[in-house]
């Protein structure tokens, strides 16, 4: 039963995707939307059934299915195999339920777009690949899904391909994540050699725990996987692709860049946390990079003026929180924040999409304004999402997950080599500063967009098909956090009990003021935002960041320019050199030179020797042209060369 259901879970969106792609334009917009929602919806139902099955089984139970042996050879084996444990259970619930809500919303949002079939084909295919990433029990099988989500994100970011800027953004996202994919492949090869040719997650973790891999090997493998996760999750130094990726339709941003794909890196590290636990320097690196990204993203979000870009930088910053938690070993906290982040960031993106749609595609927050009066429903939704993102105490889901991260970071301690140590409190301080900045930038956005005097005109109403998902996400992002509470509050630890049922809950008592600080700082941020951008004092309103200090931060150009000079320019130079065909010129030039020289030398003596020299130089020139014959563009010549090579190879094999 379970194997069938697990396959069904992936097959439903896959089938919907095939239907959408093959329908071309024969199905109307309504039909396509229905197909896509049915596909994702049925996998949501299946994932709920599977979760019930898993939870009703033994506490350490795992549902497994091996669909077919993929490759088996001496020294290496890989299967198409899936595994549902409690970690992946949480992920499939997030992916399918949030994905379903986004699909319902998108069915209305994209209704008038001529490419809606292509859109939903890509979206449902994306969900299918994401489920492969989440469920795969073999790392090579996970890699299929990893590449698949990359492809779908490329297709969706460049969805409106008529605009050259959109396709450029899509390419950028593809290349940047591709760098990480190469690193992931390297890490997998390293692990495969260590475990004796199997990439089953269980086998890998056991092999690492048994010490089959030297400490340096563990560090290298963890580092490679970390680079892959950094690229997929747009962390420093790979953060540049995510803000540009907002070129795609808004539901895409909500699905890919908030709830699913960018969290794949976090999920991967959480899955392999036993491996990372043995690589202390890599853990420290993860934590430091996470903290830096968190601050950088928050600072950049503070000076943006495009509504969607604010949310994009906010995503980068929140993912930084998760990396910080992973680095400190609090992987449950990272997963918890991943979950609440999926709720509130999807809500924020979808609300922003609805606002932008009704405000005649105006994305600049300084031209919006006073929307509180014209869109009360959307205001409520956005404020709910914003409070959850800021982590306002007690009433929002974001508070509980952020609290869990903060309390996980405090006791962290890294013993690096050569007497260097890194302890939790500085990282904790950075996380706290990040929490303050988060509240500041998101409420800046709220105050500017919803308060004050009305900016651009608005039209229409938000249709019911779009407001139902918004309502559901509202409830989730406000109440979804109570499953795991800080120790100082009523100690309810459903999530930890779910993820790690065998572990005894340790009540490592931390200072009570930690929770108070974590609760107070967002409120302080809210207060400061009110003072700076609230209705009473419109001082900061007219300084949208044209100052020379702010401008590079606003666009993130510094990093782009660096990449341009370090990677793009040398490549262009190489291409230019190749176009000139420098080798050909060198050969021809030498020939000409020799010919000229010999003609001058032997001008007087037109004897045999002179003739010989001239003929020799002609020969050299001709030889220079000879390689050119190899690529004359004629297919039949190429076939002839291939056939010749084949004959030569056969002859060598026979005669030797």
């Amino acid at each position: 039963m379970a194997p069938f259901l697990i396959s069904l879970l992936i097959l439903c969106p896959l089938a919907a995707s095939l239907l959408a792609f093959m329908s071309a334009r024969r199905m109307g917009a309504r039909g396509i939307g229905l197909v896509a929602c049915t596909g994702v919806g049925s996998s949501a139902v299946v994932s709920i059934i599977l979760s019930v099955m898993l939870l009703s089984g033994p506490v350490t139970g795992v549902l497994q299915v091996t669909l077919w042996p993929w490759m088996h050879m001496p020294g290496f084996s890989a299967d198409i195999a899936f595994m549902l444990d409690r970690v992946s259970m949480i992920m499939i619930l997030i992916v399918t339920v949030v994905g379903l809500l986004i699909h319902i919303y998108a069915a209305r949002y994209m209704r008038d777009d001529p490419g809606i079939a292509r859109f939903f084909g890509c979206m449902t295919l994306f969900v299918a690949f994401m489920l492969v990433v989440v469920l795969a029990s073999d790392l090579l099988c996970l890699f299929i899904g990893w590449e698949g989500v990359g492809l779908c994100s490329y297709l969706l970011i460049g969805f409106w391909y008529d605009d050259a800027a959109n396709t450029a953004a899509a390419r950028k996202a593809f290349y940047m994540t591709r760098m990480g994919d190469v690193a992931l492949l390297c890490g997998l090869l390293l692990l495969a050699t260590a475990t004796g040719g199997s990439l089953r997650i269980g086998t890998v973790l056991v092999a690492v725990a048994n010490g089959q891999l030297a400490p340096s090997g563990v560090n290298m493998a963890a580092l490679f996987i970390l680079v892959a996760a950094l690229a997929k999750s747009a962390q420093i130094p790979f953060q540049t692709w995510l803000p540009d990726a907002m070129a795609g339709p808004t539901p895409t941003s909500a699905l890919i860049h908030a709830a699913t794909m960018v969290t794949a890196g976090i999920y991967l590290i959480a899955r392999l946390h036993d491996l990372f636990a043995m690589a202390v320097p890599v853990m420290a690196l993860t934590a430091v990079l996470g903290a830096l990204t968190l601050l950088m993203g928050a600072c950049t979000a503070l000076v943006q003026s495009d509504l969607k870009r604010i949310l994009a930088w906010s995503t980068i910053s929140q993912l930084g929180y998760m990396f910080l938690a992973l680095g400190c070993g609090a992987w449950q906290a990272a997963l918890f924040h991943l979950m609440t982040h999926a709720f509130f960031k999807a809500l924020l993106f979808l609300t922003a999409g609805a606002i932008i749609m009704r405000a005649h595609h105006e994305q600049d927050i300084f031209r919006l304004g006073g929307l509180r009066h014209t869109m009360p429903g959307l205001t409520t939704a956005f404020v709910a999402g914003a409070s959850s993102l800021a982590g306002l105490p007690l009433v929002t889901a974001g508070f509980y997950s952020k609290e869990m991260i903060l309390s996980g970071v405090w006791p962290a301690h890294f013993n690096l080599t050569h007497g260097w140590t890194l302890s939790g409190p500085p990282l904790w301080g950075m996380a706290l500063l990040g929490a303050f900045l988060t509240a500041l930038y998101i409420f800046r956005c709220v105050f500017i967009v919803f308060c004050g005097k009305a900016g651009t005109g608005t039209a229409g109403r938000t249709s019911r098909l779009m407001s139902i998902p918004l309502g559901c996400l509202c409830v989730l992002s406000l109440c979804g956090g109570v499953i795991e509470m800080p120790d100082t509050l009523p100690s309810l630890h459903l999530l930890r009990a779910l993820l790690d049922p065998t572990a005894v809950l340790s009540h490592a008592h931390q200072p009570g003021w930690l929770v108070l600080a974590g609760a107070g700082v967002p409120l302080a941020g809210l207060g400061v935002a009110w003072v700076l951008w609230g209705r009473s004092s419109p001082v900061m309103r007219e300084i949208p960041g044209q100052a020379p200090v702010i401008r590079p931060g606003r666009t993130g150009r510094g990093m782009d320019a660096l990449y341009h000079y370090v990677f793009v320019q040398p490549f262009c130079l190489l291409a230019w050199l190749t176009r000139l065909d420098i080798l050909n010129h060198a050969v021809t030039g030498t020939g000409l030179l020799i010919q000229a020289a010999s003609a001058r030398m032997f001008r007087v003596r037109a004897d045999f020797l002179g003739m010989l020299a001239i003929q020799a130089t002609r020969l050299i020139r001709w030889a220079g042209h000879l390689p050119g014959l190899l690529h004359n563009g004629r297919v039949r010549w190429y076939a002839a060369w291939i056939a010749g090579g084949l004959c030569a190879g056969l002859a060598m094999a026979v005669l030797s």
Binding site: N632, G633, V635, R636, A639, A643
Partner: protein, 103 residues
């Protein structure tokens, strides 16, 4: 019913393959080149079937089905390219005329 040995199959396949290869090399008409390519593919498929029969292993037949699909795809793509070229106003099937890339 005559029984063919694996050796005979190999010989036939070699002959077929050579015919196909010669066709690709000699023909200038792109449709005929595609057909010759199919002959080559069929020759390899024949080897797989023969080997499957020789060692009583169904994998050879599986490979044959795979090659069949591959051949169909390759022909479809090739014909699509030819039709596209015609659409662009190149009313010729001569493979030798298309030796320049014009982005």
């Amino acid at each position: 019913m005559p029984v063919f040995s694996f050796n005979d199959t190999l010989l036939l396949a070699t002959a077929l393959f050579s015919v196909g290869l010669a066709g690709v090399l000699v023909r200038r008409n792109m449709v005929f080149m595609l057909m010759s390519l199919d002959i080559m593919l069929n020759a390899t498929a024949l080897v797989f079937v023969g080997a499957g029969a020789r060692w009583h292993d169904a994998t050879g037949q599986v490979m044959f089905v795979l090659i069949l699909a591959l051949a169909a795809v390759e022909t479809a793509v090739g014909l699509a390219i030819i039709v596209c070229l015609h659409g662009r106003g190149r009313p010729t099937l001569d493979a030798d005329t298309g030796n320049l890339m014009e982005g």
